[in-house]
Structures are given as C-alpha cells and as structure tokens.
Symmetry: C2
Subunit: 149 residues, 2 copies
C-alpha cells in the first residue's frame, strides 16, 4: 500500500462518510503495517479547549476501519460491533490516530475463519499520542462479512 491508497482512502471517507469532512480528517500515512489519520484541533475543540472525546473516538474508529478496509482484498462489508476507549490525558493540538497491524497469529486466525465462513471478527487497537504521552487508548471489534455475489 502506498500513496495512491492513501489518497484513495481519504477520498472514499470524504465521499461516503460526510461527517469526516467536518472532522477535518486526513489520511496521513498508510502501509500494510500501520495507518495514520489526522485531524485538526480547531474543528474538534470542546468547551474545555481540548479535543472533544467524540472526535477522538471517531478518528480512532476510522483508523482501525481504514486499516482493515485496505488489508482485506476481497469484496467485504466491515461493521463495527464494539468499542472501548480510555481517555488518559486531554489532547489540545492537532492530533493523529494510529492503528497498527494486529499480531500475525491473530491476523491468521481471523483470515482462516473469514475464508472458511465468509464472516469473522477482529479486534484492532488505535492510539492518540501527544508529546510522547498516550492520551487515547482505543480498542474496536469489527466484523467482516463477505458480500454474497
């Protein structure tokens, strides 16, 4: 995955999920190992002059969704089933949410079930770090469903 994928994903998000434009989401980096989405402070500010928790959650969700979307080559629907967030420290700048490839055993387990049943569940993590401090620790569980032809 490379630059065309980065731009294609950004375009896909803006076209299909209009709230991403209001959040100011950009796809900063994609590779098979990780994805980074960014968003500006000013569009996501709250009454405490920090980033609204809902915005942090939304960008983290889309980082995980985006990683899975780019790494599943087959025609597939990806649905979020569960999310958990620990808000550990406030964010008060432009920010990035980064999702890394899950470990090899977990990915192989997921792909084996997905190929066999056309449906499988994968848990991904995303983090928002500011000045070296972990601010947002996000976990999302996604269900991938193969489209029936």
């Amino acid at each position: 995955m490379d630059q065309p994928n980065r731009k294609a994903l950004e375009h896909y998000l803006l076209e299909h999920i209009p709230i991403t434009a209001a959040l100011g989401i950009k796809v900063s980096f994609v590779s098979s190992e990780k994805i980074v989405l960014s968003a500006p402070f000013d569009k996501n500010i709250n009454h405490k002059q920090t980033v609204f928790g809902g915005s942090l959650h939304a960008v983290a969700t889309l980082a995980c969704w985006g990683w899975l979307h780019l790494n599943l080559k087959e025609r597939v629907q990806i649905v979020i089933a569960h999310s958990e967030v620990d808000y550990l420290s406030p964010v008060n700048t432009d920010f990035e949410a980064e999702c890394h490839r899950p470990d090899a055993i977990e990915w192989e387990r997921f792909m084996t079930i997905f190929r066999r049943k056309g449906k499988a569940r994968l848990t991904l993590k995303a983090k928002v770090v500011q000045d070296g401090r972990l601010c947002v620790d996000y976990t999302g569980t996604f269900v991938a469903l193969k489209y029936s032809e």
Copy 2:
C-alpha cells in the same frame, strides 16, 4: 429542568463544541429523570447507508455529559474517562440517544464523594433505539471536578 434548560443546553453545545453543528444535534427533551438528544440521518450517514458508529458514540456521549452537566448545580468540570459501546443493530433513520438518571444509591454515592473530595466518578448509560429495537448500548464514565475558586 424544563424548556429554558433544553434551549440553553443546545445553545451551549453549538457554541462550545462546533462539531455538534455538523452532527446536527438537537436537545429534544430534558428533565431531572432523563435527557434526549437527536441527530439527523443525512448528516451522519456512512458508506453502508447506515449511521456512522462515530456519530452514534458522539451523540450518546453528549447525552450523558449533558445530563450530568444539568444535574450538577455546582461549578464543575466534567471529563470523560472511559466509554464502551455495543453496536447491536444498524441505525438507518434520524435517531435519538437517551440517557436516564442513574439509580438513587449510585447518585448518592457519587454526590457524597464529590462533596467530600471535590472529585468523583460516575458511570452513565445511553441508548439508541429504533423501531423498538436496542441498536446502541453506550456506557460512559465521567469524572466531575469542582473548580477551585
């Protein structure tokens, strides 16, 4: 709490958390027993023609935050510490997130600690229901901090 509170809260959200305008959030109902926030389908649609999970989470978060904001009479800062969401069924219409007053024992415990220490933690729940079906089951843990004068 009544109509003036409803309008005041809606104005407060729009003024201080600009993303609420993009989400199209309205405060539909407030009482000491519950709060209902609503948002339109079209602003929150995703690539599957259902409501984006990040929007569902954001409106549920603000329902819980709003209930606590209106029920704490003292000058207080409310910070989200943790959230969990089960996405049980897709939402494909305009939607409402409803947060109810926690049970009396839990509220009394929270207020006792808050008065004693100037800081306390409360877990609130919000739900999104469509056609009688529970679609989103949200739990948020908030920390209330008394402002030092």
